[in-house]
């Protein structure tokens, strides 16, 4: 083919082009899809007698939600995505990304538009100042980070839940990873933490071990509970895992800070309402999706319910749809102002 290859290769794009032109002629499933959707909508409106409302729903558009690496976030984001797609006809892309900085940069680039649960504690401010991101309220969840041990340890060593006395038990937590110090497990690199500050402030004989993922933390505590092994690790609410495996919180003196950079290490983590963030582009687009995101608000229990189903083996879609079906009123309250509703 040596000589003919180049000639024939030149024909390829032509063929491809011809194919596309031909393909373009027929009815596309894309058109059909729109038609079916319209028909379905028409049927629905007849049945529900909600013609006016349906007619008023503005075009939603094409948006992307950040997906972060913990199951609670997945629950929130999936529910928002399902509602946006089903009720508002949005095209929603879900983009797996590390939290905070990476995601803010993605928002500045226009790669994603929404973060439905941000623990970043104001790290986003500089992006707000640049006009890329806007705060669109809290999502109703209240986050609380803390250090935990399996319940059996709390039962056996009642003192252990007093953070200031952790040094008495450092031996229990020794691992090959940490040598003669106790292992102090932390979450992934992106998680907000003051673990090192606490260790420093109290002179604790512990060494930080980073686990890299929520999954690893869950694995750690599951093993600890099942095999009655020792584990001291970072965890947080809302997380439905706390309902499945008994963990005991290790307490430090009451919190006195909000910005982790200013924490002394002597006091515990604060309760923090979790923030929703959206790109300025979305907020100013007038899309009903912006309204949905602004309205989205639910409780820790709601999130845990969906998260439990996902952990239990449902796909995030199934779990989200199940919760939506069971909580139509809440969902409709989020849809207020968009002209759409679910039934």
């Amino acid at each position: 083919m040596r000589r003919n290859l180049t000639k024939r290769m030149a024909v390829l794009p032509l063929l491809a082009a011809a194919g596309l032109v031909l393909a373009g002629c027929g009815d596309s499933v894309n058109d059909a899809a729109t038609e079916t959707a319209t028909e379905e909508a028409a049927v629905a409106t007849e049945e529900e007698a909600a013609t006016e409302e349906a007619a008023e729903v503005a075009a939603c558009g094409d948006w992307a939600i950040a997906m972060h690496g913990w199951v609670g976030y997945t629950a929130s984001a999936q529910v928002v995505a399902e509602v946006a797609q089903d009720a508002l006809g949005c095209t929603i892309e879900q983009t797996q990304l590390e939290e905070a900085g990476v995601s803010y940069d993605a928002m500045e680039a226009g790669s994603i538009d929404v973060i439905v649960e941000d623990w970043g504690g104001g790290r986003w401010q500089e992006w707000v100042d640049r006009g890329a991101i806007q705060e669109v309220g809290t999502n109703g969840n209240v986050g609380l980070i803390g250090m935990y041990v399996p319940q059996w340890m709390a039962d056996e060593y009642p003192d252990i839940t007093d953070g200031t006395k952790l040094n008495d038990y450092a031996d229990l937590f020794q691992t090959p990873e940490t040598g003669d110090k106790g292992a102090w497990y932390e979450g992934p690199p992106g998680y907000t933490t003051i673990g090192e500050k606490i260790i420093d402030a109290y002179g604790l004989n512990y060494q930080v071990v980073s686990t890299g993922s929520e999954a690893a933390l869950i694995e750690l505590f599951t093993q600890a509970a099942d095999n009655k092994t020792a584990a001291l690790g970072y965890f947080y609410e809302p997380q439905n895992f706390l309902a499945q495996v008994d963990l005991a919180r290790v307490n430090f003196p009451a919190n006195d800070w909000t910005d982790p950079a200013e924490a002394s290490g002597l006091t515990d983590y604060p309760e923090s309402p979790l923030m929703k963030l959206a790109t300025t582009e979305l907020v100013e687009s007038g899309s009903p999706f912006a309204t949905l995101v602004a309205n989205f608000n639910w409780t820790n229990d709601d999130q845990n319910m969906v998260a439990a189903d996902i952990e239990g083996g449902m796909t995030p879609q199934e779990a989200a749809q199940k919760w939506i079906a069971a909580n139509k009123d809440t969902v409709n309250s989020w849809l207020a102002g968009t002209g759409a509703s679910i039934s």
């Binding site: 063929l15 011809a18 393909a23 997906m67 990476v102 995601s103 497990y185 690199p189």
Partner: protein, 651 residues
Amino acid sequence: MKAWIDTHVPDFLHRKWVWIVGLLIVWFALGRIFKGVHTLDIGNSEDTPTTEVLGQFAANIRAARAENPIFVYIFNPFRQGIESFVEVIRAVISDPAPGALIPVIGWFGILAIIGFLVFATSNWRTSLLSMVLIFGCGVLGMWTYSMDTLALTLGAVVLSLAIALPIGIWAGLNDRVMRAVRPVLDLAQILPTLVYLAPLALVFLIGIAASTIATMIYSIPIGIRITAHAIRSLQNGPIEAAESMGSTRWQKLTKVQLPMAKRTIILGVNQTTLAALSFVVIAALIGAPGLGEPVLQALSIRNIGDGVTAGLAVVFLAIMLDRSTTAAVARSNQIPLTGKPLLIRRLSLGAAAIATIVAVMMSRQQLWAAIFPETLNFREPIGDWFDAITEWFTTTFYFLTTSFNEVFTLNILNPIEYLLADAPWYLTIIMISVIAAIIGGRAVAVLSAVLLLLIVWIGLWNDTMITLTQVLIATTIVMVIGVVLGVAAGRNEKFERVLKPFLDAGQTLPAFVYLVPVLALFGPTRFAAIVCGVFYAAPVVVRVVADGVRGVPKEMVEAAISSGSSTTQVVTKVQLPASKKSLLLGANQGLIFVLAVVVIGGLVGAGGLGYLVLQGASKPELQGKGLAAGLAIVLLGIVMDRIAHASARRS
């Protein structure tokens, strides 16, 4: 002095390894005595003067992005241009327009187009294989992810080749250009992938553009290297003949050099494509859509099955891209068809073209051909199956894996880490430099000392040593595996055939796919990162060693056998020494590959520099530290590469 040494120092002291062992003993003893002194250990969220400067620098760049003219008129339009280019490809094969159900072409049409393209450039057998593999991506339930990955890969490859081919050709023709690009190519070869992500994100933010640019940075050097090599390694005869017949330089290039180099250049396309594919998966860390997403997700929420399924789809794509380009090389090497076979070929191409057009039309009009049918989607059962296997494996071998992990960590990992990271920093630097001097010579020792001091100055000494520990251990294991399997494969063709598919899969599977199952087996430990490094680097080293052993002249082996050597003697006294160059090359490759993965180990709790890079990506206030960690990785890579190179040159 030298004469004095020659006469007064006993013979065994002339051997390098005696000195190295002696040094290690001294090092170990001193390390014990001064354990924990001057280790420069700092907290993960603690800054140093240098990281603060870098952090300020990063903050300034972030602040400049919205208004600075360089961003407004150069970087941002460039980013948007790249993004739109890739989005066009995505719109055709993976990403439906707003409100649409499918992209321009449905799955069946894409299947047909791929089949046709592979048929046209190679043969029907490869075409069929490609279609089966692409179909397999659908069966795995990864159709859209796969198409996203394919779209990004294609976009990055097209852009990469548009840059790599001209530069590669130029560097092939012109020594001065080659001298100018070579250091860049060498650096690119030792730069772990994770290192570019952060600085790139700083300039090009996060998303498709940044992913594509990062992928290009990864694959362009490979394209340049092979293209330049293709031009340089041409036989001189035909070129001189063309010159003697009065060709202009352009005629010589287009009529002689390029056609003759075509085969190797296509091989370059193959390598560029595979590199791009493996990078696109990792680029999920900076917002690349595609198969990297489920893998990343699997890492962070408990979903091992899904992660492995996605990894399998990556392997399918890799095999498809590899086989189709390899088959195209083979075809371009054949004597052209004439007469009846040519007619048959043309007719079948025509038929295939028509079938493809019909398939594309159907894929736009028939629902079954537009959206990959749900009934053929086995993502969940396959994922469950992998989950079950992993579950069974982890529970059955829990004690084995954890106790092995424990024994290994206590007896090997920790002592070495104490040596490197828990001893005073100056002791470590002196010892490394002296060892570098012994095996690589004075120049390399000085370079190592300077670069290591630079790491101290950056302030990430302790984390660097933690990473170095893991790299050294993983490389040692890789070399043991590489030599054992490589010698076996080099001596025994049957064994090599058995091994080959594993090596292929190992080399095509992007590194961070194995993090998922390894995490399940070993938990978030340094050992898990070491295991990943071993998995990633071993296939390459096995290949290099096997090639080396096979390259030992037959006569040499026959001479050894005929003088009565046992098999062990043949291996240890003939084949290994004779392939020393390959072994050292393998060690060098192993080091670099291991470094690339051990850094990703930050994702599974291995700590060290990788952790700091990832932390910097998420926490803007620690971005400076992340960038500094990236710099430290590069410096460490250069130190190891130079020592390995120097020792290879000396032997």
